[in-house]
Subunit: 232 residues, 2 copies
């Protein structure tokens, strides 16, 4: 089974591959992920994907099946890291969209992506993922694409929030689901259960679910204590 779903089961906080394994026991599960905005892949633009499964034979076979002249496929045995990355990136994309909606530019977005990756990595590593996965296509690659594209529904929700609109109004108008609006609360619950600090996710939850304004969220992020960059 190749999973393309990105999320956490509510209540149980299970990853999608765990849900698949519960439902279809005995079938090996791989994850296909990476910076793959569908419209651009369909248009034949050059891109790269990651097939994640801890079985070299299956990984190599899936690589062979999916690769084309326009789509490079890399293998990665770290399924946990790839799945955590896929969930958290939608939350960070909301934050990045907010900053853009507030009128901020490339420094702010690059900073949110970078610090967002730091908190994504902290969570993923605490769950058993590999640090280097987050520096790869499933981690920063997908995060950058999602945070840069108005094709991302999560980024779009953030953008509208940044312009000062309410979450109910924005979600009420959308025809498709922006997963990050729901999954941010699950991600934060998982982080709290593992004692992981996720300040950006926390502010996204505050804005999406507790009525905090984007201005208050930004101030909360900028007023944190100064730190060494690589602090755990």
């Amino acid at each position: 089974v190749v999973s393309l779903a990105k999320g956490l089961e509510r209540e149980s906080l299970k990853r999608m591959s765990e849900v698949v394994q519960d439902e279809l026991p005995g079938h090996p599960v791989a994850v296909l992920t990476g910076p793959n905005l569908a419209r651009e892949v369909l248009a034949g633009q050059p891109a790269a994907s990651v097939v994640a499964i801890d079985d070299t034979i299956i990984a190599t076979e899936l690589q062979r099946i999916f690769a084309t002249m326009r789509l490079r496929v890399y293998t990665n045995p770290d399924l946990v890291g790839c799945e955590v990355a896929g969930v958290v990136k939608n939350v960070i994309a909301i934050a990045s969209g907010m900053a853009e909606g507030m009128g901020f530019g490339d420094n702010t977005r690059a900073t949110l992506i970078t610090r967002g990756l730091a908190e994504m990595s902290r969570l993923g590593v605490s769950l058993g993922g590999e640090p280097l996965t987050f520096a790869g296509l499933a981690g920063m690659g997908d995060l950058i694409a999602t945070c840069s594209s108005r094709q991302s529904r999560n980024n779009t929700v953030g953008f509208e929030l940044g312009k000062g609109r309410s979450i109910d109004e924005i979600v009420g108008e959308m025809h498709m689901v922006a997963e990050g609006v729901k999954s941010c609360a699950s991600v934060l619950a998982l982080a709290e259960a593992h004692g992981i600090d996720m300040p950006i996710t926390e502010q996204v939850v505050e804005v999406c679910h507790h009525g905090r304004t984007v201005g208050e969220a930004l101030t909360a992020l900028m007023q944190r204590d100064a730190k060494p960059e690589l602090a755990p």
Copy 2:
């Protein structure tokens, strides 16, 4: 001395802090870097910087001096990694600009940034840098900002190359230097001296200095053998 210069001395291939140490012996040297497009910092937009020096007392003092309510300053003892990141990001920004000039979108750019970071990290680690620096603000943070912004001269040179114009014509029209056009050759020389594979840098050198077309460069990148993502 706080160095803001990003480059390698030609011939010697020394980093800027090494040049400062040669010229001003006995003065500790720090590097200030990160996703800091000047215009946005001046406009008071939220951003973050890195002060790199392997001396906690000086680092903390510089952090205190530079930090404002709108600029978070992180410290990082890894001066080598921060400097290598600063040089290589200008080269990758040319590649990213090329892709955009050729009409490609967010997947392609995210992929180039991610794989660009992979080769930047390989070089930096081989020179003694810390892997995690490249996942931070001086590495991916600055890389993302530079590869996303038309304020970056290197990105702009790449964009014009991607549209099919010649390097001589583009450079002849610019009033300011795009460092990556020169430094790509130094970066490649350094990589070759250390046995490091830098396929994107190699193609930038081919296009900027050996008359290869952007289409040929792209084809060369996409036709490489399929690999595990985390291969050294």
